[in-house]
Symmetry: D2
Subunit: 331 residues, 4 copies
């Protein structure tokens, strides 16, 4: 048994993370925190979790008594909490963007000043399908953004094979991706029966996708545009690739088969995936298509933005860090 704290458990991803840890055979959920809802029970705030723990205020001397923590806070406020936890020897999976980027300048450009500069760049990028071995011994794992998770699983095989010439990523997400804060954009009347592009040209997941594609061998500038669609959980990445070189369908099929046939949480399909097929799961469903008319490669990847895009992937990482089966507690 290893003890775990979940910071920010009143958010959507944090609540699911707490639920998964609570049900987990190996981990013991010891603390859950929330800022404004401290004192309430998590199963009152989020009934579906059925986690009967009281939400606590954040105090490193209280929650720092654990083996591991999942930090589900926004960027910039997350880093100091991670630092405080690390100072107490706690191993951390951080769900914010604070430890994902490795270039201080890029972080500064897209996010501003970092909250724990001495730890900057020390996170291992927590996409198990790409960095499994590095994650195991890591003390700080930077859980990927939801869009980068789907985009990188879709494109990494092409990047590694030198096939990724140029790419347009059109992404669609359910409303939970906009967070739990009631705003005019998350009001039912705004989102229902609507769909709309948002953060055109400037979504913060862009540099993260570019950094990791470069790490896989394809240093390029990507076009990435997210859209809000009227559903609760689910994310679809449609990637339109201009290939960098000649290839045929067999090579393409072999590349993806090699990458994912043995991956427990990636499902390679012939037809395009729907987000409902992966709802409330850690799965990513993928399909790859070679368009003879245009010469483009099309890749579609569907995940649940709160699960594989956040909470369940964090637990997948936690499993790796503590030597457990990667899938424990996730089925």
């Amino acid at each position: 048994m290893a003890s775990v704290a979940v910071l920010g458990a009143s958010g959507y991803a944090g609540a699911i993370a707490a639920m998964l840890v609570h049900r987990h055979p190996f981990f013991e959920l010891r603390h859950v925190t929330a800022r404004s809802e401290a004192g309430a029970r998590l199963d009152d705030v989020h009934p579906r979790t059925r986690v009967p723990l009281e939400l606590e205020s954040w105090d490193p001397d209280v929650q720092g008594d654990v083996d591991a923590a999942l930090v589900c806070w926004p960027h910039r406020v997350s880093a100091p909490a991670v630092a405080a936890l690390r100072a107490r020897g706690v191993r951390v999976v951080d769900l914010s963007a604070d430890f994902r980027l490795r270039d201080r300048g890029i972080y500064a450009d897209w996010y501003g000043e970092h909250g724990a500069p001495e730890l900057f760049g020390q996170g291992v990028y927590g996409l198990p399908e790409l960095y499994r071995e590095a994650i195991r011994p890591a003390d700080i794992v930077a859980n990927p953004g939801c869009y980068p998770t789907a985009a990188l699983l879709a494109l990494a095989p092409l990047a590694r094979a030198g096939l990724l010439g140029d790419v347009v990523i059109d992404a669609k997400s359910g409303v939970s991706g906009a967070g739990r804060e009631p705003t005019s954009a998350t009001h039912f009347i705004s989102a229902d029966e609507n769909m709309v592009p948002y953060k055109v040209e400037r979504h913060r997941h862009t540099p993260e996708i570019e950094q990791e594609l470069a790490a896989q061998g394809a240093p390029l500038t990507v076009t990435f545009t997210p859209h809000l669609v009227p559903l609760a959980q689910g994310e679809l990445v449609s990637a339109y690739v201009t290939p960098a070189r000649e290839h045929d369908e067999d090579e393409l099929a072999a590349l993806y088969d090699e990458a994912y046939a043995r991956e427990p949480w990636v499902e390679l399909r012939v037809g395009p995936p729907g987000v409902l097929d992966v709802r409330d799961t850690n799965y990513c469903r993928l399909s790859v298509h070679s368009d003879g008319r245009t010469g483009r490669i099309l890749v579609f990847a569907a995940i649940d933005n709160l699960w594989k895009g956040a909470a369940s992937q964090a637990v997948q990482n936690l499993n790796l860090m503590f030597g457990r089966d990667e899938s424990e507690g996730l089925r």
Copy 2:
């Protein structure tokens, strides 16, 4: 007054077309037809139309006694009906694909054998913003497909200006686009909380978009992928353009302003459009963005697939054909 018949009034687009004609100050709705629901009243089948007419079986000797007809039938079965109407001197707006394409080979490739080969290619493409003057005297107007309507309004200014180098069109449509037939894909449980790409590489609106972009000066092969999203009516086209030449933001703004500032049914906006903003209207909302990072031009266009994408655009065409104000009966 001019008398009008609506063929196929029990479908989603046909019902709205009938409603718009019925309410129209100049046109008189004389006949509505339906195959399997003949004998029922339209306002029982589609209460929201409030059209108290009985649905008739198609008989050219009955419905042929009108000045104009809107034919809301599927491709291939539409052409013979159009021929029969033309033989009786009826002016026709055809909502199928049968008179949109001008290359017999391309029609055959994507649709099969044409149902009235002697009339092939005689339709004027009914996108008023591009072909207003040709529509006025036309006897057959080929009402554009829903995706081409949005895609062409989004891209025509770039095509005409020699800016359209390459384009990826990612389109999203509400479920009414899949038609009124109950299928496993249109079942509430399949569509609700889901989104999924469909007809990847082979949607029939592709050659129509390519034909009309070529007509505007940009002969290219487009990548076009539609997605089904969980809402009733609404269509969003996200177009990712690789420019064919240097340009600046001022030129871009001037191009769209020149194209659309005086158009009654195109709304140019600074921020990206949502489909709810055009629901149940003949409007197309557009925004254009020049992405400095990637050099791409992004254009977003939102329409109601059943209105500007079908029924209300058909009435807009009818207005032009009969010398009426283009917007009559549409506000």
Copy 3:
């Protein structure tokens, strides 16, 4: 022409009211007000209205220069505005509860202190189907609540005929009924795929329903429970009546036929109504059923809570007050 101001035009009902007045052949929309969004244009805040007027701050000396005003403000803050408008001779349709009740004690119990006690009780209850003649000359018309509108249209014929022994009203409303304020209850993630009873035992429309049923001849205590359902606009009242006396189906049918056959905005149907059938309209759809097994009478009434339940009914009242055809501008 008569000039009109709409106060509170940034709310859902206010925006539709403004749109209907703006499109109306007889009325001229001169002012629209909003508290926090003053300075913005209404068609930017609510694009679907297409009303290109600037939202103003409330100032009786500015907006008081009109012939009529629709006041779309919450109870208690509405009354003083109505008083200020009346002092300037403006005829008012008030959409709040402030002028609906006629018993000061009941108002105090359910709403608290009244904001213009000198005018208390001077409103004519604005349900045209019941009070048409009294509305015509009225200077203050109290537009009914959405639930009372549907409930009273459903039950008035029974009340008048001495048939209403006891009644359970189970009501369901779309999320727009909860207002435009972003709250945790109106967040898409809370409302989507959910339904939940609310304000059990204490919804403020209860005394309004009881007052008006008593006025129709049935003084009784009603059980009324509203539920929130995941749709934008639409309200369904299911009324379960224990008859006060013997009756047969013919009498029942005759009662409703007599009440509504000539009403332009009530649609009597054999089968139960769906809210989609009346979406974006001023219609109320009704069905009445006599259950032989239980002896109960069941009445179902569907309206659009923002239209017949608020904005379009306000315009219907305005038409009556200004001697226009009751339906002008509403089709």
Copy 4:
């Protein structure tokens, strides 16, 4: 280990039943059947199940080799299959209505001729909270209907205490309750943004509710009306009770507390339950309210119609029949 067959696994409830058995630590899912989709894999037809078994055609000599079967077929066709399974010694949980009723005349009135008259009435009514001890040794368990499950859990404590004088049950269900057959009623465009009463006066769950309330001590004729609401899974029963005798709030609270405080799958709450709180679970959430104004007792019960209303309750019953912990495999 005990081996299990699920008949009718391509339906919504059957697919979930198969998934739950497949994941269950004690049961082994050996067969899944489907009529029209035999030959396909269940995880292709219903990806969310992740059950990699091939759907078989029904053949008692093939699927009869198991210890237990869950029969997820419609009424009337279910009974002969149950008979064939019983002839082979298989213990059965039947999800149809065929073994729920104990009066042949009532069955004939509501359902027609029974498909296995020699077994009529031999089922134990499978609501564990009422019949736990009788279910354990049973060979045929008649899994309750979804509406009766919620209605009986809501009302049984009142029935037993002699408090149930009269009751109106207004029920609301998500669209999955209408089955997987694509029909005009289950088309997304019909159900989305709509709600409508259905089977007014004649829903077949009525006699089942009456039978079981009588068994609990309250023989009465109930008014029961279901409504279709636009969500996938979830059912809410709103019960309006006229008490048969004097009582106070303390007695009421004590009754429900006594009935459910130790029940693992009933959650008693102070505020009214939402269906989202029990989505994808075996829980029933309940609240009881004593309305001082009207003297009525209000009870609200929320379940997932496919889980506690069908599939997971069937597994709960199976657990009891095989001496397992009632909750095994359900959390």
